[in-house]
């Protein structure tokens, strides 16, 4: 029974990683930048939802919607002010700017909401499912998070595959210059990507904090890095890869803690990641792009 419970725990945190990784991978795939501020947008989303439900007493759904709207706007503003001027500059320059944005959001959050951790009230209200006479528990958060990440994954896949905007995104992702020649507005497409990525971040924030209730200005940063790791693990740029990478990372982390060592779980998890990348250098579902000679 222990094993199954650990597996569920792993899937639980893994699906949170997955949902964050989806946002990471999408922005990376299209804008070709590592948006290290993504984790902090998540934090903002969680705070917004917290404020709406705890201070205004509105239902959780409203909280999520407000968080999505605020994060979308925030994403577009960040992209316009901090990333757009660097279009065409070295990707490393954009990376550093993203780190600057991350510092900014964390410190702004501390000024606005204070440094004291808040305890996030889970948006999931239905009772956990008990199996085997209560020996095995599947919480509502796990179910909701998995459902949400699957829905988002499918929606994103359909969006990029079927819609006009989605196709434009893929074109920009493949070859920015060629896309421009085909009459695609590259700037607008990238802004759109950030808008969607940030809206996803809001959902991820709410679900992250429903699973892990501690909410403080640095809440997003470590899960953000974990999720980035997960996205690379699955093959960065690949939408199903992010999903798979997130869940696997969660399971590996939990199993390491359960059966190997809690003290060295960070080291072991990252070691597994390295070994996987050595065997599959482009991640689990990434394609190795052979440079044409």
């Amino acid at each position: 029974m222990g094993f199954l419970q650990y597996l569920i725990n792993g899937i639980s945190i893994g699906s949170v990683y997955a949902i964050i990784a989806l946002g990471y991978t999408m922005v990376y795939g299209i804008a070709k930048m590592l948006n290290f501020a993504h984790g902090d947008v998540i934090m903002v989303g969680a705070y917004m939802s917290f404020c709406v439900t705890n201070y205004l007493g509105l239902p959780a759904v409203v909280g999520i919607l407000v968080a999505m709207v605020v994060c979308t706007v925030l994403g577009i503003i960040i992209e316009g002010l901090a990333y757009k001027p660097l279009r065409g500059a070295s990707s490393l320059a954009v990376l550093i700017t993203a780190i600057g944005v991350s510092y900014f959001l964390q410190n702004a959050a501390q000024l606005i909401w204070g440094s004291a951790p808040k305890n996030f009230t889970s948006i999931v209200t239905f009772a956990p499912i008990k199996l085997f006479g209560g020996q095995l528990t599947i919480t509502g958060e796990v179910i909701i998070t998995i459902l949400a990440s699957v829905v988002i994954m499918v929606a994103l896949t359909l969006f990029t595959g079927k819609t006009r905007m989605g196709k434009a995104m893929r074109a920009v992702s493949e070859d920015r210059a060629a896309a421009q020649l085909m009459g695609i507005n590259v700037n607008q497409t990238i802004s759109m990507t950030f808008a969607i990525g940030s809206a996803l971040a809001a959902i991820a924030g709410v679900l992250l904090c429903s699973t892990v209730p501690t909410l403080q200005p640095t809440t997003g940063s470590m899960p953000g890095i974990r999720a980035f790791t997960a996205a690379v693990f699955g093959g960065i740029g690949s939408i199903p890869g992010a999903m798979l990478g997130g869940i696997l990372l969660g399971i590996i982390e939990t199993m390491t803690k359960a059966y190997l060592s809690t003290q060295f779980s960070d080291a072991i998890v990252f070691l597994v990641l390295i070994v996987v990348l050595l065997v599959k250098p482009a991640g689990l579902m990434g394609k190795v792009v052979q440079e044409k000679v």
């Binding site: 600057g100 510092y103 980035f228 790791t229 070691l271 390295i274 990348l277």
Partner: protein
């Protein structure tokens, strides 16, 4: 004629780099001796030296070799603790503080260099963002291990364990490194002079490397891997050389850093510090060694100088960072700047862009 001009040009950059460092040292040392520096400024000197060395060494990997490394602080940490343990062990063996410091720097460098080899063998088979994430992973692994490491010294020698209880120190034994708390009660050996020497050594190694056939090969691999292979360059070997030299220098900087404080903990050497060093490099210009020296100094002092802003300090630092990045990297700003410089160029002598940038 052309040859001589070119010769002078490449070397003028190096001369300027050494020159600025030496002048800065002489000025600061003079002010310090004359008691004209505040305590805080005096306190910045050694860490600035360490960060300059870290930035220059990371620039070798990121700027010259063109690989994004997010785990540089890991090597710094390895060097710091190796150096602290060395210095503690030599206490009573080597009398001179300076001698112990130099030994610590050397051991710190060598141990970090070895770590660089261990990390480099698997890491350098990867490219781009995958390499970045694996260096990040190694940095975190090193941090996790050091954070759980206990090292003590008693009359039987050095003891290493994974918990305080397993250390079993004999009578008169002394704990040097104590897990999460790190090393405490470290004898402070680092001096500004030693830091200055380390910078000179680093510049000497890195600038010489860049200008030698090895450096050309490393840059060739960065510019075009396939072409470099086609002219007989062993790509992995040269990425490795750059990586290990960089780790070695980072280890020395770590030892200098570690021996400047009486308490050092493993949590310092994580992702955030790696990112800080990366910021120095990118802001100073990729492959621009002098740029790294200057940006490390400026960016170290900036948040300290902003202490008066109290709660608004870090948020303003973030804003400054973003603005400086936009200003120095934005293609539009570059365009405007090039127009301005072109106009200025009419007034002054026309300048060509240096080859080292």
């Amino acid at each position: 004629m052309n040859k001589i001009k070119q010769y002078f040009k490449t070397h003028s950059y190096n001369i300027a780099t050494y020159g600025i460092v030496i002048i800065a040292y002489v000025v600061m040392q003079y002010l310090s001796n004359a008691d004209m520096l505040s305590r805080s400024v005096n306190g910045y000197l050694v860490p600035i030296c360490a960060y300059i060395v870290l930035a220059v060494s990371l620039n070798l990997v990121v700027g010259i070799s063109g690989e994004l490394s997010l785990g540089h602080a890991g090597f710094m940490g390895v060097g710091a603790f190796a150096g602290i343990v060395t210095a503690a062990c030599l206490q009573g063996v080597v009398d001179s503080d300076f001698g112990r410091l130099m030994a610590a720097l050397l051991v710190g460098g060598v141990v970090a260099g070895i770590a660089g080899v261990i990390v480099g063998v698997p890491v350098l088979r990867l490219r781009g963002d995958y390499l970045a994430i694996v260096t990040l992973a190694f940095g975190e692994i090193l941090k996790n291990i050091i954070g759980n490491l206990y090292i003590g010294k008693d009359e039987t020698g050095i003891r290493v364990a994974l918990s305080q209880a397993e250390l079993h120190l004999g009578a008169g034994g002394k704990v040097i490194l104590s897990g999460a708390l790190g090393a405490t009660g470290v004898q402070k050996l680092s001096t500004f002079f030693a830091g200055f020497l380390l910078i000179l050594f680093t510049l000497f190694v890195v600038l010489n490397l860049i200008n030698s056939k090895e450096g050309r090969a490393i840059k060739a691999v960065r510019d075009n891997r396939i072409a470099a292979e086609s002219v007989g360059i062993n790509v992995t070997a040269f990425r490795m050389k750059a990586f290990v030299v960089s780790a070695f220098l980072a280890g020395m900087a770590g030892a200098l850093y570690g021996l400047n404080y009486s308490a050092v903990s493993a949590s310092k050497f994580g992702f955030n510090t790696s990112i800080d060093i990366l910021v120095f490099v990118v802001l100073g210009g990729m492959g621009n060694i002098l740029g790294s020296v200057i940006s490390a100094t400026v960016l170290y002092v900036l948040p300290e100088a902003m202490r008066g802003l109290a709660d608004y300090r870090m948020i303003l630092y973030a804003v400054v960072l973003i603005l400086v990045m936009l200003f120095t990297w934005s293609p539009k700003v570059k365009e405007i700047m090039s127009v301005v410089t072109a106009k200025l160029g009419g007034i002054f002598k026309k300048k060509e862009v240096g080859t080292n940038e």
